[in-house]
């Protein structure tokens, strides 16, 4: 017995070296996987961006090496492609730290993409928190052109960029987990981050968030733009939402999601200027869906807090309570109009809601059979949606009244 008790602990040391031993030195960590259609019927064009962990660290000899290696090839799927990648990469290809999956817009608009994307989840290294990014151009081009100047390491860029959703709401939170949830429950549209590295021809001058990627007229060396979202129905892309629409969609969802949205509204007194504000959602929405009648009725109450950031027109919305009330009403009306427009688009054009309202509708049923029979997605297209916005002023920054501007300069 004593011998056995000695052998067991000893075997811990011996057995570790046997099969599933991983040396970090021998691994190639894929940070981004890109998927595009290939000419081959049963294959995809796979792009891997493999990080170089040595780069930028002093005294490792890797200081001057490139930050990552990008390889593209055609393979039957993106899991088995890793063996093919070994034709050029000497290390063992590992997905354990993959941050994002970029899919070309042309590809995600086909059923084929859904099949390849969903089949990959079986692999143990593909985690459900990988972010899904839809690129306007081919995914391979996006990955190649994406060259952020502030970030040396590629994983950091995707990590930070996709993490911004929580603060700005300009892009949605779009991980694989949610992609699967929407497909498997066959309810609600899925919003994926929409991005591009190519400048769009129809440059427009929108306000702070009314853009699709590529439309922002920015000058600088990095051409990557992540704004707005791709709308996917049952795993296949059917449309796009601009940054502004994405924010509205997030706000219409029951849970409080985006924390800080910096927005501007037309000044109700002075149409030349816009009032800048910080919008936050302090509580969850109150959503009520009445499913008893033929056309369902949806009542949404959205509580919003509103902090004034800047009043370029110089009107006093702070100490003058009447003006304050006027601005509040104005903001409520503007938002309500925007939300109603978005609901209308989703009802008429896309025929599916990206607001996760099926979760609310589910509560009205006792069993899944009843719920499936009701067919919420179909009923939604004719639903009578009633939106109420409740705006509350919670802050005015560190200034009371507007600075005294000479009346003569200010033509009212």
């Amino acid at each position: 017995m004593k011998k056995i008790m000695f052998i067991i602990p000893l075997s811990i040391f011996i057995l570790t070296g046997c099969w599933d031993k991983h040396e970090i030195e021998e691994q190639a960590f894929v940070v981004v996987i890109g998927l595009d259609d290939s000419e081959k019927e049963d294959g995809v064009s796979v792009t891997y961006q493999i990080a170089n962990p040595q780069v930028g660290i002093p005294n490792t000899g890797g200081e001057k090496e490139v930050a990552s290696e990008i390889i593209t090839f055609t393979a039957p799927d993106f899991i088995t492609a890793r063996d093919l990648a070994n034709a050029t990469v000497a290390r063992k290809v590992n997905f354990a730290h993959t941050k994002a999956m970029v899919i070309g817009e042309d590809f995600i608009r086909t059923e084929k993409a859904k099949k390849f994307l969903t089949s990959g989840i079986r692999d143990r290294e593909i985690r459900r928190d990988i972010q899904v990014v839809v690129s306007k151009e081919k995914a391979a081009d996006f990955i190649k052109n994406n060259n952020p100047n502030l970030e040396t390491r590629p994983h950091k860029f995707y990590d930070l960029m996709t993490g911004r959703w929580a603060e700005t709401g300009l892009v949605p939170l779009s991980d694989l987990q949610r992609y699967f949830q929407r497909i498997e429950s066959k309810n609600d549209a899925y919003l994926a981050i929409y991005a591009t590295t190519e400048k769009s021809d129809d440059d427009k001058y929108g306000n702070e968030d009314d853009y699709l990627p590529g439309q922002i007229d920015q000058k600088g060396s990095s051409r990557t733009q992540l704004i707005g979202s791709a709308l996917l129905k049952d795993g296949v892309m059917i449309g796009t939402l601009t940054g502004e629409e994405t924010r509205s969609a997030l706000n219409l969802r029951s849970k409080s999601i985006a924390k800080y949205m910096r927005v501007t509204y037309k000044d109700p007194f002075n149409k030349k200027y816009r009032v800048a504000a910080l919008l936050t959602k302090p509580r969850s929405n109150k959503i009520e869906i009445l499913t008893q009648e033929v056309t369902p009725k949806v009542n949404v109450t959205i509580p919003l807090s509103f902090k004034i950031l800047a009043i370029p027109s110089g009107e006093n919305y702070v100490t003058n309570l009447e003006n304050q009330e006027l601005l509040r009403r104005h903001v409520e009306d503007t938002l309500k109009k925007k939300y109603n427009e978005l609901v209308k688009i989703t009802q008429e054009e896309y025929k599916i809601n990206p607001f996760n309202w099926s979760r609310v509708a589910r509560k009205n049923f006792l069993t899944m059979q009843e719920y499936e029979e009701y067919d919420w997605d179909d009923k939604y297209t004719n639903a009578d949606v009633n939106i109420k916005v409740e705006v509350k002023f919670t802050g005015f920054g560190k200034q009371l009244g507007p600075p005294k501007v000479d009346e003569k300069d200010e033509g009212k």
């Binding site: 067991i8 099969w19 599933d20 990590d159 987990q177 006792l366 069993t367 899944m368």
Partner: protein
């Protein structure tokens, strides 16, 4: 002599570890495709269902102050008693072997893809054998020592999971595929609590029989809530529609959690606690199987029979080709047979004891 006997707390620890690890293996996968979002009700209903036969069984235990096998033999006569207890023995032998291969597949799918399955199985069996050969007191103490760490790890997991996006709306429609399905599944799977009855095999090693009843009641009530809570968590995080096809939700939960933005991918830490709990669990099963054998066939020295029983388990455990056959075909069947058998057994014993009383009184 009482110094090396098991008390209430060791017994509670044994029950909590053997039954309390069931929501971490493929058991949820047997339930979710049937009951969907109502799966959290199954542990509660099943506990309610098994409570009646358990109460009768505990009553009989306290009355006769005997262990499981002795009780069966005393009440149903030598021949029938041997048949019954050898059935329990085979149930345990086969059930444990399949469960073991279940865990081997979990480990090889998620953590050790290149290690041959039989190596994991043999290592697991050898470690369990090592602890089991220490005897019942060592097993009980190990379970008691390990329990707080396992519980802390589980609590930590729940707290971290709460930070992730959870939605209680996923729990609706409240009855899933219907209340009738939930009740039916609860009955068919009530053998998830079968340990509350079969662990009475440990009674000869306990100071008092009363302590066993106490442990069984405490264990059952904690477990019903714990299991139901975890199923509820799975649903609120993953949605029941996804859980239908998601193998091993517990392992997925450990992969989902993050500690801040920088510490992620730390499922390996939970693996340690899960492994320790699993090892204790198999040790208990191994010992119980061996002890059932020695008691049934009236042979001495349980420890001596551990070696052949372990070998037999490894051999049976190698039989299923993959998780689907081990868990979904064999174990499901074993669970269903167990549900009926252990539900009826206490009633049968009770009737027999009443008859005995009646025949003894005149």
């Amino acid at each position: 002599m009482n110094k090396y006997k098991l008390g209430t707390r060791e017994m509670v620890a044994i029950l909590l570890i053997t039954i309390g690890t069931k929501f971490t293996d493929a058991t949820p996968n047997l339930l979710f495709p049937k009951t969907y979002m109502a799966t959290w009700m199954v542990p509660l209903f099943a506990a309610g269902m098994i409570a009646i036969p358990l109460a009768i069984f505990l009553h009989l235990l306290n009355k006769y102050e005997l262990g499981l096998v002795d009780l069966v033999k005393k009440l149903s006569g030598k021949f029938v008693g041997t048949v019954f207890s050898s059935f329990i023995f085979i149930f345990y032998l086969v059930g444990t072997a399949f469960l073991m291969s279940d865990y081997v597949f979990i480990l090889s799918t998620l953590y050790f893809p290149q290690t041959p399955d039989y190596v994991i199985l043999v290592v697991l069996a050898v470690v369990c054998f090592g602890i089991a050969s220490g005897g019942p007191y060592m097993i009980g103490r190990t379970a008691w020592i390990v329990l707080p760490y396992v519980m802390i790890a589980l609590a930590l997991l729940l707290i971290l999971a709460m930070v992730e996006e959870m939605d209680t709306a996923y729990l609706f429609p409240i009855f899933g595929k219907g209340l009738d399905v939930v009740v039916k599944e609860s009955f068919l799977k009530n053998s998830i609590y079968v340990e509350t009855i079969t662990m009475a095999t440990f009674i000869p090693f306990m100071t008092k029989v009363k302590q066993y009843s106490k442990a069984a009641i405490i264990g059952l009530s904690i477990l019903a809530i714990e299991m139901s809570f975890f199923f509820m968590f799975y649903v609120t995080i993953f949605d029941a529609y996804s859980l239908e096809d998601m193998l091993l939700p517990f392992q997925h939960l450990t992969r989902v959690v993050e500690l801040g933005r920088f510490i992620s991918n730390f499922e390996g830490y939970f693996l340690v606690f899960w492994l320790i709990a699993s090892i204790v669990k198999y040790t208990v099963y191994l010992f119980v199987t061996a002890h059932l054998f020695t008691q049934t066939f009236n042979v001495k020295s349980t420890r001596f029979h551990l070696i052949p029983i372990t070998t037999l388990m490894v051999l049976i455990g190698m039989y299923p080709d993959n998780l689907i056959s081990s868990s979904f075909l064999y174990r499901n069947t074993v669970l269903h047979i167990g549900s009926f058998f252990f539900f009826i057994l206490p009633f049968l014993l009770w009737i027999l004891s009443l008859r005995k009383k009646a025949s003894a009184s005149p």
